[in-house]
């Protein structure tokens, strides 16, 4: 029909052909020029019917996969999966174009059709297509094959592909969170190192809580975790190898090491080392195990985080009298302060995009997660809790997670720690499902 045809032209004709078409004689009337500079910012209505399957097993997996996709996209705050009960067309074959009109009627702006197949070799294959309801064409069609246990990862990959095609930026659903699982009363808190999928599924505890662990962070391959452990009452930075389950103290420092973070290439760890009460920032090369001091100041220097290109490090320091965010070159030179708002600022973390630094802003009796440009401009507060701190970025630089500590009332009522997330725009603040109380989330990179 006409819509299809035009979009067809728009899509499939190259710019050259199109330019040629523009040479056609101009019409008689001038066009009305309108500038629109206001709009809404709402989740995109998208229809995601259960993926079909040719037998009950496959149908069930198809429904499971679609469920995860719907949940992923909904949680992003950028999509609004429509209720399947509103669907008019019943998708029975994903290799035939859908009846776009049926989907426009229910005001879908995107449609995902998919199919799950259990292959003779036992592997699960998932095919899906994303349709442009107005342009009436396929925007992307992909197929994944993996062992059936990995069906959730396939679903996350489908979500990532849809997210990327529609928003223009990479997705973040096929990722994990390393965090600290908390349990027990406030005076005797048990903290365990744990990982889970970004949607809270598949939690696994890596330590058993017989010693305190804090501030875990993934390396760029998501195979290694750097964290702080109080094992043997010696607070030090450790590495945890997820493939072997082995833990290893990083270096042999006489005093506390803490606040570790990997460099973008994964070859070194930057962290803080305390000496006679003073904390400075060091970097340790993981291959040679040699370390180098980067700051040398009587004030507290800690919480370092590399810029994604590896050339700079942001950190917090109270060298100017109060806790603030600073940036220096990766060799420790050219230190400059970047946070100048009211109150204090700490736990800076450089965005994977490089354009922002997320941090904890402490002002007016509240701890809030905010972002600031590396030059110190554009400070924005994103979260709304009483005590939100320690942000971590999704690998696409679009979403942040952080720890929310709840206020504890008289007699210890209330309190506790939760993981929350918020979009970099400040929208879509919501709790991340974790097994029980949780803190210190750190996002993995996209799993390769």
């Amino acid at each position: 029909m006409l819509l299809r045809k035009s979009s067809f032209i728009r899509r499939w004709l190259g710019p050259v052909a199109f330019a040629a078409s523009l040479l056609a004689a101009p019409v008689a009337h001038a066009a009305l020029e309108v500038r629109v500079d206001e709009g809404v910012s709402e989740p995109l209505p998208i229809a995601i019917p259960d993926f079909i399957g040719i037998n009950p097993d496959a149908s069930r997996m198809g429904a499971d996969v679609a469920n995860v996709v719907r949940a992923d996209l909904e949680r992003s705050g950028l999509f609004r999966p429509l209720a399947p009960t509103s669907f008019i067309e019943n998708i029975t074959d994903i290799n035939v174009p859908p009846r776009f009109g049926d989907w426009r009627i229910i005001q879908a702006q995107g449609l995902v059709t998919g199919q799950a197949t259990v292959q003779p070799d036992g592997r699960l294959r998932v095919d899906f297509r994303l349709w442009d309801i107005f342009g009436e064409e396929q925007m992307i069609g992909l197929q994944y094959t993996a062992t059936p246990e990995n069906w959730r990862r396939i679903a996350h990959l489908v979500s990532d592909a849809i997210y990327q095609r529609i928003t223009g930026e990479a997705g973040y659903f096929d990722t994990r969170i390393v965090f600290i699982a908390e349990s027990g009363p406030g005076l005797d808190r048990r903290k365990r190192l744990a990982v889970m999928d970004q949607d809270g599924a598949n939690p696994v505890f890596l330590t058993q809580g017989d010693y305190l662990v804090l501030t875990p962070r993934f390396n760029p391959t998501a195979q290694m975790i750097a964290y702080m452990s109080y094992i043997n009452d010696r607070p030090r930075v450790y590495l945890f190898d997820l493939e072997t389950g082995r833990q290893e103290m990083l270096g042999n420092f006489p005093n506390m090491t803490f606040s570790p973070r990997f460099s973008p290439n994964g070859n070194s760890v930057v962290m803080a080392l305390e000496n006679n009460g003073n904390s400075d920032i060091y970097i340790m090369d993981l291959a040679t195990r040699t370390s180098r001091r980067l700051t040398n100041d009587p004030g507290i220097d800690t919480a370092p985080s590399f810029s994604p290109d590896g050339t700079q490090i942001t950190f917090e320091s109270n060298r100017g009298g109060s806790q603030q965010v600073y940036v220096m070159n990766a060799d420790g030179s050219n230190v400059r302060r970047v946070s100048f708002g009211n109150g204090r600022a700490g736990t800076p973390v450089w965005s994977p995009r490089g354009d922002l630094i997320a941090f904890t802003k402490i002002a007016d009796g509240a701890f809030r997660v905010g972002v600031i440009r590396p030059d110190g401009s554009g400070e924005r507060v994103l979260s709304t809790g009483w005590q939100d701190e320690g942000p971590t970025w999704a690998p696409n630089g679009r979403v942040l997670m952080y720890t929310r500590t709840l206020q504890t009332g008289a007699n210890g009522v209330g309190g506790g720690s939760q993981i929350w997330s918020v979009d970099v725009t400040g929208r879509n603040e919501r709790r991340v499902l974790a097994p029980g109380d949780a803190s210190d989330p750190a996002w993995s990179p996209l799993i390769q």
Binding site: M1, L2, S6, F8, R10, L13, P15, F18, S21, L22, P26, V27, H29, A30, A31, L32, E33, V36, D37, E38, G39, S41, D93, N95, V96, R99, R104, R125, D127, R129, F134, Q138, G141, L142, Y144, A146, R153, Q164, V195, V204, T207, T221, I231, N232, D233, R236, L242, T244, R246, Q247, M249, N252, F253, N276, T288, R289, T290, N296, R380, T425
Partner: protein
């Protein structure tokens, strides 16, 4: 209580230490657990370069009680990925109602600016679609990663493109009260339809131009088009492409456009909208 824990912990450490002395081989320490070389604690006050291997901390039971743990990230998950070509647009067999190139309502373009109230507001009737003929199953090569199939290939030759011309632009001086009012009418409707993709990096730079034609009824006379400028800028810019698609959706969703005086149809038959993100990107 706390003291009890400390004492208990100390006791346990002592026991572990003793155990290590007694059965050193019983505990498998990882390689990093170095032989217990008695070395004195050093201060690192002036040490700016700390060597890892040398300093050995007190002979406490070395770290590394490796916990029995299931590694949770399967590095070899081996997910195969293949790209699927779009299915053929139409079931071919039936040379049915909506056969090939849909007769374009180009006539609309010639519609007179006359007050003539359009008889039938050309609804975007989704042509009745035949039940899809049994598809020739697409061949999926299951376990191999198929190199990107060219999406563009499968389409048939293009039908004659409706020459959507970019109209000569008006001078600013041409602004009249009438056009101002028309602009306002369009703008106020578009405001509700434009779902701005906030959050993109440099979102304030994602300007998008869309040209579209309206029927006298206010319906779209044909599918909206991105301006040549936007199309050119879009190449290789996924964010701008996303913004452009959002703009097209906005124009589509907003139809039919209301409140446009039919006697001025000639003035709003063709509209060029510039979606200006500067305000919205203010985040």
């Amino acid at each position: 209580m706390r003291k009890g824990i400390i004492v208990s912990a100390a006791l346990h450490l002592g026991v572990i230490g003793a155990a290590m002395v007694t059965w050193p081989s019983a505990l498998r320490l990882s390689e990093e657990a170095p032989p217990s070389v008695p070395v004195e604690l050093i201060t690192i006050a002036e040490a700016t370069n700390i060597q890892a291997a040398v300093r050995e901390p007190p002979p406490q039971p070395t770290p590394t009680p490796v916990e029995a743990v299931v590694p949770t990230i399967d590095p070899d998950m081996d997910i195969q990925l293949a790209e699927m070509t779009p299915p053929p647009p139409e079931p071919q067999p039936e040379p049915e109602p909506e056969a090939l190139p849909e007769p374009e309502p180009e006539e609309v373009a010639q519609a007179e600016p006359e007050p003539e109230p359009p008889p039938a507001p050309t609804p975007p009737s989704p042509a009745p679609r035949e039940k899809p003929a049994p598809e020739p199953e697409e061949e999926f090569d299951l376990d191999s990663v198929i190199a990107l199939l060219d999406n563009r290939a499968p389409r048939a030759a293009t039908p004659q493109s409706a020459p959507v011309a970019e109209a000569p632009r008006r001078g600013i001086g041409d602004q009249s009260a009438m056009t101002m009012n028309l602009r306002d009418a369009i703008m106020s409707q578009m405001r509700e339809c434009w779902n701005f993709p906030a959050g993109a990096p440099n979102a304030e730079e994602l300007f998008v131009g869309v040209t579209f034609y309206l029927a006298p009824s206010g319906e779209l006379a044909r599918a909206p088009q991105l301006t040549a400028e936007t199309r050119a800028a879009m190449a290789g810019n996924a964010y701008l492409r996303a913004a452009a698609e959002a703009a097209l959706r906005a124009v589509n969703i907003c139809a039919p456009y209301r409140g446009l005086p039919t006697d001025q149809y000639a003035e709003w038959r063709e509209i060029i909208v510039t979606f200006d993100p500067t305000k919205m990107a203010g985040r």
